[in-house]
């Protein structure tokens, strides 16, 4: 398959910035897809096994489009970016690489990420960059399904048995310190925002809270009041878990470079 991104995209921003931004979004999707894939054959029921795999596949597709675009701007292929970068060269938020935990952790993370991506892609679909707008316009439909799936499970588990409630609340408490990183903007993003290419991450929090808070309330769960961790995933500080994830994800490509089947 030859993926041909629309070249130039009619804006005057630096391609290095655009590539960096596409990598951030693409790495978020790629790393979370890998985490979701860990559930295959291990989910609590067959339907959920298929659901988590399908959601991971959507994210992987989004990651491929974004990494292909980043690579087209920097002279690398999507596979080179996925399989031959070190953890320090990844740009995923720490939330994505946290261990999959129990099913409650997976659902809580999906709710958080899908709520964030829904806000992000709805706005990015209007980007001045045609390729990013195209990826976002496609992804918004998919992450809406992911969000609804996570919402249904959050309601069922949060307002379920004492044990499912306890686990959902514990999952939220454990993940919440990592939420803030999703809404941190920086100079790269601000230059792209000024050019109409990127979305200002800090402006997405209000919509996120409006989407998530009522679900948690209905699920009889508390919004955690916990301090945030420092993050740094966007700046090349990969955190403690990404390296282990990459060791598994990249092992085949690194043992047999160029392997096809």
């Amino acid at each position: 398959m030859t993926t041909t991104p629309s070249a130039g995209s009619g804006t005057s921003v630096g391609t290095t910035d655009v590539a960096e931004y596409a990598l951030r979004l693409g790495d978020d999707a790629l790393v979370l897809a890998q985490r979701l894939g860990e559930w295959i054959s291990r989910a609590p029921e067959l339907e959920e096994d298929v659901a988590l795999a399908n959601i991971g596949l959507d994210l992987l597709g989004q990651a491929r489009a974004l990494l292909s675009y980043a690579g087209s701007l920097t002279g690398r292929t999507e596979d080179e970016l996925a399989y031959f970068r070190s953890a320090e060269e990844f740009r995923a938020a720490h939330l994505m690489s946290l261990p999959r935990g129990d099913f409650a952790v997976t659902i809580a993370r999906m709710l958080i990420v899908a709520a964030y991506q829904r806000e992000l892609y709805a706005r990015l679909a209007g980007s001045a960059d045609e390729t990013l707008a195209g990826v976002a316009g496609k992804a918004i439909k998919e992450v809406t399904y992911h969000f609804e799936h996570a919402r249904d499970w959050t309601l069922r588990l949060g307002d379920g048995t004492d044990e499912s409630h306890r686990r959902m609340q514990r999952a939220l408490d454990g993940l919440w310190p990592y939420v803030a990183e999703l809404f941190v903007s920086d100079e790269v993003e601000q230059r792209l925002v000024a050019a109409g290419v990127a979305v200002d991450s800090s402006t997405l929090r209000a919509g996120f809270d409006q989407a998530v808070d009522p679900i948690l309330a209905e699920a009889t769960l508390d919004v955690p009041q916990v301090p945030s961790v420092s993050g740094g995933g966007r700046r090349g500080n990969p955190g403690e878990h990404l390296g282990h994830l990459l060791a598994e994800m990249q092992s085949l490509a690194r043992q047999f470079p160029g392997a096809t089947w």
Binding site: T3, E47, L57, D58, K138, Y145
Partner: protein
């Protein structure tokens, strides 16, 4: 020049160049390996065919971002066109405008129903799909229920009919 496929409800295929209509018919007849009852023209996945100096450039769009059938469809297009006498074929993927189930033709919907897959409801514009009752492709009953929204492929949900008790795939609105 632009032509609508004969059976198309909305999707239009942009064709240009000598014999482009012929090449478009060849490419459009390729099927999705996971939906072998429907051609990619009727599925709305074929977006354009350009012929220049007997070099064909075919543009397709994925149904879902991660749809693994895209690679197989792409390979099948190249093979079909080579057999038809076009040795040099390039397949491009195009994400925008995003594929929608409204791009599927009426013929395509009938083909799905004939194969026991409930076709997608038409949707109004906007990102939130309407949830209407789904008609059982076996007995026609509307007393159906969703078993799981994520079914055997990205594009399908699994339903069950409460009258004839048969499970069936529903092509999700996107």
């Amino acid at each position: 020049m632009t032509m609508g496929t004969p059976t198309s409800s909305r999707a239009r295929i942009a064709v240009s160049g000598p014999q482009a209509d012929h090449a478009a018919r060849i490419a459009g007849a390729v099927v999705d390996p996971e939906l072998p009852m429907i051609s990619i023209a009727d599925l709305g996945v074929l977006r354009g065919v350009d012929v220049a100096d007997r070099t064909v450039t075919v543009t397709i769009t994925p149904t879902y971002s991660g749809c693994p059938a895209v690679q197989a469809i792409s390979d099948d297009i190249v093979t079909a066109l080579r057999y038809a006498g076009y040795p040099d074929v390039t397949v491009r993927t195009q994400l925008s405008p995003a594929w929608s189930t409204d791009d599927m033709s009426e013929e395509g919907r009938r083909a799905l129903a004939g194969a026991g897959i409930a076709p997608p409801a038409h949707r109004a514009s906007g990102p939130i799909p309407l949830q209407l009752s789904v008609r059982c492709p076996q007995c026609g009953s509307r007393r159906t229920e969703q078993l799981t929204r994520f079914g055997s492929t990205s594009c399908k949900a699994l339903y069950r009919c409460r009258d004839c008790a048969e499970p069936f795939d529903y092509f999700k609105v996107l």
